[in-house]
């Protein structure tokens, strides 16, 4: 009897911690800049994910985000700008991976070596940091609500820069992703293009770390594109769907989360995962097994 009551209270409590739409309009006004940052990130993350999939770089994304985490943690400890630290870590990792790992096998071993090193460094810096613990875990699991407005502005601006740059290098990057040898033979500056891609990836990963946390970056940079690729092979539809899925995951996650008292990342990752699941099911039914003719 007692146990049952406790459970019921617990349930109720749990529910209101997860979803709470009281004073929703007011809250919405407070977090509108977060929503904007999330929207831009969702769109750009979905788009760059299409290339991440084609270039087989999911593991690289994870590696870059751990080094971004280390950079952010160092900045926190030494009282510097956390976004700047996060960017620095991500860019260093992205460039090192881009220069040393042009072949997939080399790349994976380099990432495998860098990633625990970065994560370890980050944990060290956090352990040394005397401040509030919410900030600490935010770097790993997401902290958009605690990011202040000027920084949100920066995050949105960086995402927009990545978006525009990606569109401008779209064709040479597609060529290089499909077949680097032929692209080089046909006049694509492949080294420049690959390095530019890594820099853009570093930038967007650093932004994602701020918003959904270093451990969950893949939910915005890989999952939406992976879902889109289950549904289509069209060079136009795939990027468009990936952007829509990224947008829905990020914005949907933030909208659901703001009333409750939990971090936003589980909402985002859950939405993006379910989009992927549905895409897989729909894709299975719609697509005949490859290998016609």
């Amino acid at each position: 009897m007692r146990a049952a009551t406790l459970l019921a209270i617990g349930d109720d409590d749990l529910w209101s911690r997860m979803f709470n739409f009281e004073n929703y309009g007011e809250l919405l006004g407070l977090v509108q800049n977060s929503i904007l940052a999330g929207a831009v990130l969702g769109i750009v993350g979905g788009l760059i994910g299409v290339f991440v999939m084609q270039r087989d770089m999911a593991f690289a994304v994870h590696g870059i985000s751990e080094l971004s985490f280390a950079g952010a943690a160092a900045a926190l400890l030494f009282g510097m700008n956390v976004v700047a630290g996060s960017l620095a870590g991500a860019l260093v990792a992205a460039i090192v991976i881009g220069i040393l790992g042009s072949r997939a096998r080399d790349r994976n071993s380099i990432i495998g070596v860098l990633m625990p090193f970065g994560l370890g460094l980050g944990i060290l810096f956090l352990a040394l940091y005397p401040g509030r613990s919410a900030n600490k875990f935010g770097l790993l699991t997401g902290q958009i609500i605690s990011v202040d407005d000027p920084q949100l502005g920066w995050l949105s601006a960086i995402s927009l820069v990545v978006l525009v740059s990606l569109l401008l290098i779209w064709r040479p990057l597609s060529f290089d992703s499909l077949d680097a040898d032929v692209a080089a033979a046909r006049g694509v500056p492949t080294r420049f293009v690959s390095l530019a891609f890594m820099v853009l990836l570093g930038l967007i990963v650093a932004v994602s770390v701020q918003i959904i946390g270093a451990l969950l970056v893949l939910a915005l940079v890989v999952t939406p594109a992976a879902a889109a690729l289950r549904l289509s092979a069209s060079p136009i539809l795939v990027p468009v769907l990936a952007m829509v899925f990224g947008f829905v995951s990020a914005v949907g996650g933030i909208l659901l989360a703001i009333g409750g008292s939990l971090p936003i990342s589980p909402y985002i990752t859950t939405i993006s995962f379910f989009i992927y699941l549905v895409a897989r099911l729909v894709g299975l039914r719609a697509r005949p097994r490859p290998g016609l003719r």
């Binding site: 569109l167 499909l178 040898d181 046909r186 690729l229 289509s232 060079p235």
Partner: protein, 278 residues
């Protein structure tokens, strides 16, 4: 068997010219003292066992690999990386399923894939892609995802891609690998037609010379750090190949086919039909 095409290039002016070229990796010499001219309208087949340096030769022509010594000139100038006047069909890799590209997008990369800027095709470019698709007989599957196409269909698209931009020379690295006989004929005829109609010289790497025997003007045969060069009748001979391999090798000609027997085991090719097809 020389091309009887008028060609818009003077035949005695070599388009590709190697002088005393040498390339090796570490201790290993791939080829040495290689002097070779390829003129307009010529079809040069490059033969040789695995690892003999065929792909490396193409990489050198593409400016992606520099020579240890000697010179290599294309159209009178030292070769450079990314020269769009050279069409290139790579050693075949199958495009994986799920690649977000249709047949026509693969060909379009040859037309404007090197260009930066918003990815919007102009009308003229789209028409050019349509013409290329038509010319390689790929129009009817142009809108299929490339990953769903068979090896032969993909290979036709690659030929179309390589022909974009009107190349002055074509380099083909085993373009017939893993194709069935009908597709082997189809693809090699496409390449040969370009040569006949435009005088575009072709450097054609292959393990098996038979599918292109009727088109070949000259053969460059690489093996064991050495090479032999000449017409098929000069190179595909028992005494010549025996000397090149350093072990007895026999060249048999039966029913218009050339069969090379007795190539040392480690050097026979991996996808043979029980025989080493030259």
């Amino acid at each position: 068997m020389t091309a009887s095409t008028p060609g818009h290039h003077h035949p005695s002016n070599p388009i590709l010219s190697l002088k005393d070229a040498a390339l090796g990796f570490g201790e290993r010499v791939l080829w040495n003292d290689l002097t070779l001219d390829v003129c307009a309208g010529e079809f040069l087949a490059v033969l040789g066992p695995n690892g003999s340096g065929k792909t490396s030769l193409l990489k050198t022509i593409l400016g992606q690999q520099s020579l240890d010594s000697g010179t290599i000139r294309f159209d009178g100038h030292p070769v450079r990386r990314g020269d769009r006047r050279i069409g290139y069909i790579p050693q075949q890799k199958l495009i994986p399923g799920g690649t977000p590209m249709r047949g026509r997008d693969l060909v379009a990369l040859g037309v404007n894939g090197h260009r930066f800027g918003l990815p919007v095709s102009r009308g003229a470019e789209r028409r050019q892609v349509d013409n290329l698709l038509e010319s390689v007989g790929a129009s009817h599957y142009a809108d299929e995802p490339v990953g769903n196409l068979s090896g032969g269909e993909q290979q036709r698209l690659r030929v179309g891609q390589a022909l974009a931009g009107d190349p002055r020379m074509l380099l083909c690295d085993e373009p017939l690998l893993s194709l069935d006989l009908q597709h082997q004929r189809g693809v090699s005829e496409l390449i040969d037609r370009r040569r006949r109609e435009h005088g575009t010289p072709v450097v054609f790497v292959t393990h098996d010379v038979n599918p292109v025997l009727g088109m070949v003007d000259r053969i460059l045969y690489l093996a064991g750090g050495q090479f032999r060069e000449g017409t098929p009748d000069e190179v595909l001979r028992s005494d010549v190949l025996t000397e090149l391999y350093g072990t007895p090798v026999e060249v048999l000609r039966t029913g218009g086919r050339v069969v090379v027997v007795g190539i040392p085991d480690s050097e026979t090719h991996h996808h043979g039909h029980g025989e080493a097809g030259a």
